[in-house]
């Protein structure tokens, strides 16, 4: 369970990515966050493992406040996995070494145990044959799948995805989404996904948030938020950005089929 209590974060004057946000996300929920650029979506994710400190309010994860306690923060961080827009694989390590690092150093697994676990995860993301490759030898989609496997290796209860497909070439997006969809369908893991992939939201999200100017404007089921949002701002956004892109993709799909 993730709880935001009146969370406020300011970067500069007039740039307030989180303006007194109250939010509660139940264990196992799959939440998709969308909204225009600069709305505060990424910041909403980044304050959870405290990659950014907040200015006011409190964030509580599984009953532990991460706002003021370093001990809690360390505990919570090892339970959270995060997947970044730019993948952020360690370029000096091979795919499998990227996955094995944290289980060995943080969880204390032996090399053999970590290797076994990494191979299982590589299997799951369909990249066993790329185990020995360095990130620079992998496509963007492959890098992102390795990054997801790397996070899963820590068996996190919470997975945060910060625009995981935005930096990918269009033809590589689906392979990453497929991995995320299977994760969501498996259940049990809390997932917060900042993304404009409406197909993904429709398929597996329990809940969709729409953010604008540091405020959560819409909060409801995918149908409520994507199809019939209450606020004009959200309606404009959905029709301008999402539906157009979505329709295009579906058109392409039918065309290709």
């Amino acid at each position: 369970m993730i709880k935001f209590i009146n969370v406020y974060k300011k970067f500069k004057e007039e740039c307030i990515p989180l303006n007194n946000v109250d939010l509660s996300i139940a264990k196992g929920q799959v939440v998709v966050v969308c909204g225009p650029s600069g709305a505060g979506k990424s910041t909403l994710l980044r304050v959870i493992p405290r990659l950014e400190a907040i200015d006011r309010g409190e964030i509580i994860i599984d009953g532990l406040s991460v706002t003021n306690s370093r001990a809690n923060l360390a505990k919570v961080r090892s339970e959270i996995g995060m997947v970044f827009q730019q993948f952020n694989l360690f370029p000096h390590k091979t795919a499998i070494q990227n996955i094995m690092l944290a289980p060995m150093k943080v969880r204390g697994l032996t090399r053999k145990q970590a290797n076994k676990k990494a191979m299982a995860l590589l299997e799951r993301v369909g990249l066993v044959h790329k185990a020995g490759n360095y990130p620079s030898q992998l496509s963007g989609g492959e890098q992102q799948r390795i990054a997801i496997a790397r996070s899963l290796a820590m068996e996190p209860g919470i997975m945060l995805f910060d625009e995981p497909t935005s930096a990918l070439d269009p033809e590589l997006i689906q392979e990453v989404l497929d991995v995320m969809i299977s994760l969501a369908r498996e259940g049990g893991m809390t997932m917060i996904v900042v993304s404009h992939e409406i197909g993904f939201a429709k398929k597996v999200a329990d809940r969709v948030l729409f953010m604008d100017n540091g405020v959560i404007l819409e909060d409801g089921s995918p149908h409520e938020v994507l199809i019939s949002p209450k606020h004009q701002r959200a309606r404009d956004f959905m029709s301008n950005v999402l539906h157009v892109r979505d329709d295009l993709r579906e058109e392409n799909a039918t065309f290709l089929n």
């Binding site: 730019q86 952020n88 370029p91 620079s136 030898q137 930096a167």
Partner: protein, 223 residues
């Protein structure tokens, strides 16, 4: 005499390279630390050490440093047979480590913050973040200038003749004053310096090739 000189020069090379590599790393980490006191301390050290000629540091450790200590300790150092070597190692290390730290710091600046963020969210502790994620990338990024600096430091070992450390350059001077075979001795020493420097270049090039990684996967990031 030449053989003794060669041995001591190699000893100075190995010890100062290793120590200044280690000290320089610690200083570089201090200088990019989030703790302000560490940053100030590190910067102070580097700016003081780097802005004073290396020869002065050798003279300082040889002549002045024993005087600053309690008198028994100072006397013990002054009468210690190998103190010139110790002073040489201290002086060269102080000089070299400040350069090493600055080179490494530039390596840190070349690595995007997102690498650290990935390490944080995997639950790695700060020391582990440095050891397994940041430092390996920093060393790779600065290998060429780091190698150049270490070769520079190797040549600086010749300054230790000024404090009577019996290294190679000192030996050539001795041979000159005892036998007037200065030109021969200096020629041999020159060839030796060239060969060792060339070997160091070869090692650096080999390491570059061996550790070569393509950083484009992390540097082509768009906002």
């Amino acid at each position: 005499m030449m053989v003794t000189g060669v041995k001591l020069t190699l000893l100075l090379l190995v010890t100062t390279t290793l120590i200044s590599f280690f000290v320089g790393t610690v200083l570089a980490v201090m200088r990019v630390s989030s703790v302000k006191a560490l940053r100030i301390l590190g910067t102070l050290y580097v700016e003081i050490c780097r802005n004073i000629p290396g020869l002065f540091w050798l003279l300082f450790f040889y002549f002045v440093f024993p005087e600053l200590l309690p008198s028994e300790w100072g006397k013990a150092l002054n009468t210690y047979e190998h103190y010139p070597v110790v002073a040489g190692i201290l002086g060269l290390t102080v000089d070299n480590s400040s350069y090493v730290s600055d080179i490494l710091r530039s390596g840190k600046l070349a690595i995007p913050d997102s690498q650290k963020e990935a390490a944080i969210t995997l639950g790695l502790k700060p020391v582990q973040q440095w050891l397994y994620v940041m430092l390996p990338q920093m060393y790779r990024a600065v290998l060429p200038p780091l190698g150049t600096r270490m070769i520079h430091n190797f040549k600086n070992t010749s300054l230790c003749m000024a404090i009577t450390a019996t290294e190679l350059t000192w030996a050539t001077q001795q041979i000159e004053s005892l036998t007037f075979r200065g030109i021969e001795a200096t020629t041999i020493a020159t060839v030796f310096y060239i060969i060792v420097s060339a070997l160091m270049v070869a090692v650096v090039l080999g390491l570059e090739k061996y550790l070569k990684i393509d950083m484009t996967s992390i540097t082509k990031s768009k906002a």
